[in-house]
């Protein structure tokens, strides 16, 4: 049961007033920033809180030398010049700036897990408490040794640091900023008159690790000659006494190692690190420098100033005026909530909603019994219930939903729904799921898809290979982490239509799926699927629409609903984790002869697009290379591990990680540089595609490979850094990704161009703006087709009421669809506009053309006004305004046997990374992406898609994994799931393009939505191998593995 709203906090004015309240058991709250995280994580709110924000005691909120008032915010303490620089730096590593403005130093300490405890222990801090019996001071260390008391912290006291003292700290995080602590370490050394260390204090802890002094390490340092310390022995000593715990992110062994190594790096510098493990940078594999390919351009605002256009939606977005569906509010609107299973696998014995229905303010409660049509959906197969009736298959399964007058009532109503579950065995491992006796997630077993392919004579080809590499590549369950969580609103219209306004990617398909669920004709459902606050594939399938529609229909009122992030994490779509075992062989010269692979993909509870993702991955199993002998098997297994489906890249990037890494490893074995190896094995322009299909012209693989060889990143410093703290490496990988839905699916393009009543050229497309910049592509394409200005064009997108089915906004197909649609529909509208203007003006058609702002005389100068503005023309025409529509199929290859792509995008991703010698943490210094995807329609959109894709892939490669343990999510929100923040992004990203097309290539620009993401993982793996000699193969790459490659693990910790 959700507790009733708790008692308001007490607000004492003095510590003396606060102390008895705390002694009675009320919890003191200073900044309160940790509480919200605790509650969101399911923690119980204490019955009583003592709010310390009104405490007016002198010194409670001020810093003086040697004393920090407990009410001082971290931001203020970080600015206080009176405090030791080490402590101020440590404060700067806590949370982010805006949280530091609220959080206090007391909160960090009193939680007993704060990152500041090791630095404060090293500084010899004492705590001043006020309790029922008055004031007392106690050493921080002594306080930590005792159970938590019920006193209020008044201040922290710091002894003065003696002259010459060295104070150091390091917090090791999961990412570079605003990170939970993996572990922290700090030390203070005081020199004696003889140059030896007179006194040493060292401490570790933070995050989940109990904080404490490192007595043995301190003893070894005390009295030592700093120049003669045996750093390896010291590290081993520290390693032995540091206490750390394992969790889903890092092992205890890693934490202890990293903290001990970091201590040595802090105190011993490069010499200390050399004593732990000398750096053996592998010899450079840089390719021979070549001139860049002809026609390559830099894509940036600086390089393309004349082509830099402001997006039509940008000013509203910056001002906060942009209307997302989840922002809609009206008095009659109800608030919906969805009841999630909360258990990974169970049979439903019964659902009792009577108490919820009886709660005042509740307008509707729906369960499976309220589903009038097919209680199942799914893009490929319909295996997912709108609301579960007999069984749940993952913790986020929707079981019931409520609509109430406000969010709080809806939340209480959810708590009143009683569901009786009979637990079933949890299927948590995709390989074990395929065993004959595994508990079935679905009737019919857990093998959702099994695809095999054999080509040539694989075994005899492997027998002829001079070099064979075999590795297992694993990929994370990445969360799309769109900023606008799933949500929107549904309105039952007076005419019987149901209007669904939920951010999504393919309104027409949503309409069909909802029609089946609701047992209504699809045309009675209007779906307005955009604008969408980010999607990345995670809103391609239905999300909240079924529950919202059922609620709105039952209540007969509009209902809005938006998932909280924690619910989105538990229930939302994720990328599909792959395990790819790949074996690849080449002859002595480097020619690849054979490849064998076995793929198991974790489908999660429902199929959605996962079969397509697996199929797409397997279509890319040879990358852009000619591999004559191939044997592959790919299996897709149902489990209770959440639900997986489409994610930007759609399986291709997972496979690219494996193939490109294999090629890079073979190159090293053959003694070839990465460019030479790839050039030797590259497919030729005009070759058939992997499946045997005809592919589109304008292949640019050779050219992007030349661009890679020309890259200046190979000439940047590599090897050990000047300060000795890190090793730098450079690596590359090729991008080769099929675009479009493929050969076997209906893949329509539709467009309607019309002169609007206000004179705008309205461009209706059945596609969705979800951030990618389709609005700019529409403006640019339609303006080019008509001859008008971009600003004359008003994109009208994502509404099933406006144009026929125009396909999904996915698979990098939007730009192609928009461009081809505009090219086809533009001439007719242009002719109609001219004809209409000629009639209105009484001038000959031949004298007129379309120009910026309106209809122009063909002889006019660019600066002349139009002879009639579009607005005047629209006014003159009344309701008889011209329009032009067009429909066609997306360009496809004829390949009915299997799903094959026609378009491919090309690129070379080059990355330069720095690997921390103490921790194995990877910092991405530079990424250059040399793309070839046809003309750049919109420079801002192009560079934005590439940069955003690179950073999303950086997250996939180094940071992100929505771990699930025994069917239950191990991360709940952005406090445990690490999305890259600004300090994690590469120091520099440069985007280049080869915009030209082959002569006669009429297909125009290709999409770049997935290109940025495509080859970052193998490029980073290659760059790390350049620094360490080892290619990481388990993404997100574990610093522990990288540290092992550097030889940075203590002997007793070595795997």
């Amino acid at each position: 049961m959700r507790p009733e709203p708790p008692r308001p906090p007490s607000k004492p004015r003095s510590l003396a007033e606060a102390a008895p309240l705390a002694a009675e058991g009320a919890r003191p709250v200073a900044g309160g920033t940790a509480l919200q995280v605790e509650w969101a994580g399911g923690g119980r709110r204490p019955d009583r809180l003592v709010d310390l924000s009104r405490i007016a005691d002198e010194g409670f909120r001020s810093v003086e030398a040697g004393r920090i008032g407990a009410g001082v915010t971290l931001a203020a303490a970080g600015r206080a010049a009176d405090l030791p620089a080490m402590l101020r730096a440590a404060i700067g590593d806590v949370a982010g700036p805006n949280v530091r403005a609220l959080a206090t130093i007391a909160g960090n300490v009193m939680g007993r897990t704060g990152c500041l405890i090791p630095p404060l222990l090293a500084l010899g801090a004492e705590l001043e408490f006020i309790g029922a019996e008055g004031t007392r001071r106690i050493a921080l260390e002594a306080w930590l040794a005792k159970p938590a008391g019920d006193e209020i912290l008044a201040a922290i006291h710091l002894p003065e640091l003696p002259a010459g003292a060295v104070a150091v700290h390091r917090k090791i995080g999961l990412r570079r900023a605003f990170s939970p602590s993996v572990i922290g370490v700090a030390a203070v050394l005081v020199p004696g008159p003889d140059g030896r260390i007179a006194m040493a204090r060292a401490a570790s802890g933070g995050g989940p690790n109990p904080p404490g002094r490192l007595a043995g390490t301190e003893a070894a340092l005390a009295g030592a000659d700093p120049a003669a310390i045996d750093w390896r022995a010291l590290r081993d000593l520290a390693f032995a006494e540091i206490i750390a715990v394992s969790d889903v992110h890092r092992t205890a062994r890693y934490r202890r190692t990293a903290a001990a190594n970091a201590l040595v790096a802090l105190l011993g510098g490069p010499a200390g690190l050399d004593a732990l493990a000398p750096v053996r940078t592998p010899p450079s594999r840089a390719p021979r420098r070549e001139p860049p390919p002809a026609g390559e351009i830099a894509v940036s605002r600086a390089a393309m100033a004349a082509d830099w256009h402001v997006r039509p939606d940008m000013a509203d977005k910056v001002a906060g005026r942009f209307p997302y569906h989840t922002d809609a509010r009206s008095p009659e609107m109800l608030v919906g909530r969805i009841l999630r299973a909360g258990v990974p696998h169970a049979r439903i014995r019964s659902i009792d909603t009577r108490a919820a229905e009886a709660l005042p303010g509740v307008a509707a409660v729906v369960t499976a019994a309220d589903v009038p049509g097919l209680n199942a959906y799914g893009i490929v197969v319909q295996d997912q219930p709108a609301l579960c009736g007999d069984k749940v298959r993952y913790v986020g399964d929707a079981v019931a939903a409520v609509a109430a007058v406000d969010a709080a009532t809806a939340a209480r109503a959810l708590d009143l729904i009683a569901v009786d579950y009979e637990p079933l065995p949890v299927v948590s491992d995709p390989v074990a799921a395929l065993a004959p006796d595994a508990p079935p997630v679905h009737e019919g077993g857990n093998l959702r898809r099994d695809m095999t392919l054999e080509r040539g004579d694989v075994d005899s080809a492997f027998a002829r290979c001079a070099h064979v590499v075999e590795a297992v590549y694993t990929t994370p369950r990445q969360m799309h982490a769109f900023m606008e969580t799933e949500g929107g609103w549904v309105m039952p219209e007076p005419d019987g239509t149901l209007t669904v306004r939920v951010g999504a990617q393919y309104g027409r398909r949503d309409q069909i799926q909802l029609g089946r669920i609701l047992d209504r004709p699809p045309e009675s459902i209007r779906v307005v699927s955009g604008p969408t606050g980010g999607a990345f594939g995670g809103k391609d399938e239905l999300t909240v629409q079924p529950a919202l529609c059922l609620l709105a229909l039952k209540a007969g009122r509009p209902v809005r609903l938006q998932l909280d992030r924690s619910e989105s994490v538990a229930a939302g779509w994720k990328s599909m984790p792959f395990t790819i075992r790949m074996r690849t062989g080449c002859d002595a010269a480097g020619r690849i002869l054979a490849q064998e692979l076995d793929v198991v993909a974790d489908c999660g509870a429902y199929a959605s697009l996962s079969p397509g993702v697996l199929e797409t991955a397997l279509e890319h199993l040879a990358g852009p290379y000619v591999i004559p002998n191939i044997r592959s098997r790919g299996r897709l297994a149902y489990t209770n591990n959440g639900c997986c489906g489409a994610f930007r890249g759609f399986g291709a990037n997972q496979m690219t990680f494996a193939v490109e890494s294999q090629v890079d490893r073979l190159a090293a074995l053959c003694g070839l540089d990465p460019v030479a190896m790839r050039r030797l094995n590259l497919r030729a322009p005009g070759d058939l595609g992997f499946l045997g299909q005809v592919v589109a012209p304008s292949e640019r693989l050779r050219e992007v490979l030349t661009a890679a060889a020309a890259s200046d990143l190979w000439t940047h410093p590599r090897g050990i850094t000047d300060d000795g703290s890190a090793v730098v490496g450079v690596g590359m990988a090729l991008n080769y990704q099929g675009n479009g839905i493929g050969s076997i699916f209906d893949d329509p393009i539709t467009v309607r161009l019309a002169l609007g009543a206000d004179g705008a050229i309205e461009a209706h497309y059945d596609l969705v703006e979800m951030g990618q910049g389709l609005v700019s592509v529409v403006q640019a394409s339609v303006a080019a087709a008509l001859g008008c200005a971009r600003s004359d064009v008003r994109p009208v997108l994502g509404d099933t009421a406006l144009v026929p089915d125009g396909g999904s906004t996915s698979a990098s197909r939007g730009s192609v669809a928009v461009h081809l649609g505009a090219k086809a529909a533009g001439p007719a509208l242009k002719a109609a506009l001219i004809e209409a203007a000629a009639a209105v003006l009484g001038r000959p058609v031949e004298r007129l053309t379309v120009g910026p702002g309106g209809i122009r005389d063909i002889g006019a100068n660019a600066c002349d006004e139009p002879v009639i503005a579009f607005s005047a023309l629209a006014a003159a025409l009344g309701d008889d305004r011209p329009a032009s529509s067009h429909g066609r199929q997306f360009p496809k290859t004829h390949w009915p046997e299997a799903n094959a792509r026609f378009f491919f995008c090309f690129g070379a991703t080059i990355a330069r990374v720095s690997v921390d010698r103490a921790t194995g943490a990877v910092t991405v210094l530079d990424v250059n992406l040399h793309t070839a995807a046809g003309p750049v329609i919109d420079a801002a959109g192009y560079v934005g898609q590439i940069e955003g894709g690179i950073v999303q892939a950086l997250g996939f490669t180094l940071l992100e994994h929505a771990a699930i343990e025994d069917g239950r999510p191990a991360v709940r929100n952005f406090d445990g799931y690490m999305v890259p923040m600004a300090p994690d992004a590469p120091g520099s990203i440069r985007v280049f393009a080869l915009p030209d097309l082959d002569e006669g290539d009429e297909f125009g620009p290709r999409g770049v939505g997935e290109l940025g993401m495509g080859a970052v993982t193998p490029a980073l793996s290659a760059a790390i191998a350049d620094a360490t000699g080892v290619w990481p193969s388990a993404a997100p790459f574990r610093p522990e593995d990288i540290l092992a490659a550097l030889g940075g693990l203590p002997a007793e910790a070595a795997p």
Partner: protein
Amino acid sequence: MTALAIAPDADDVVAFTLDGRPVRFAAHPETVLADLLREEAGITATKIGCRVGRCGACTVLVDGVAVNGCLVPAHRLEGATVVTPDGLDALPVAAVVRAALTEGNAFQCGYCAPGIVTTVVALLTADRDPDEAAVRAALAGHICRCTGYGSIVRAVLDAAARLKEARP
């Protein structure tokens, strides 16, 4: 977590200045500011992206300082001055920040934009000449999933340059 129930008794009325206007809300004392803005004040420019202070979408200025609106309970707001993305125009640097971020096409889906704009206004009010590292550090706490941050950082540096030019 959902907004805690609103308990409209006299003890729970909180009065503060919101975007330059005095306001009073009857709210449970632990209703967070972000919910108060979106659900009671109708200010949907403030977005909620995580509710745990880890994404920055709900960033507002409280007494001139950029903070996460999801971490500030109503009972802390008595007498405070709150500026949401809707009220930023009252601040002298806001127009330049908005112009630079708009012209730089800083955002894509835009859901993170109001929060980031608020932090940037606070940053450039306090420090007119931040370097790139300072800009990135100030943005730590904001998640933008679309852009990879490059367009935002460049636009903020552009805004700083414009401010410097306007008043060296």
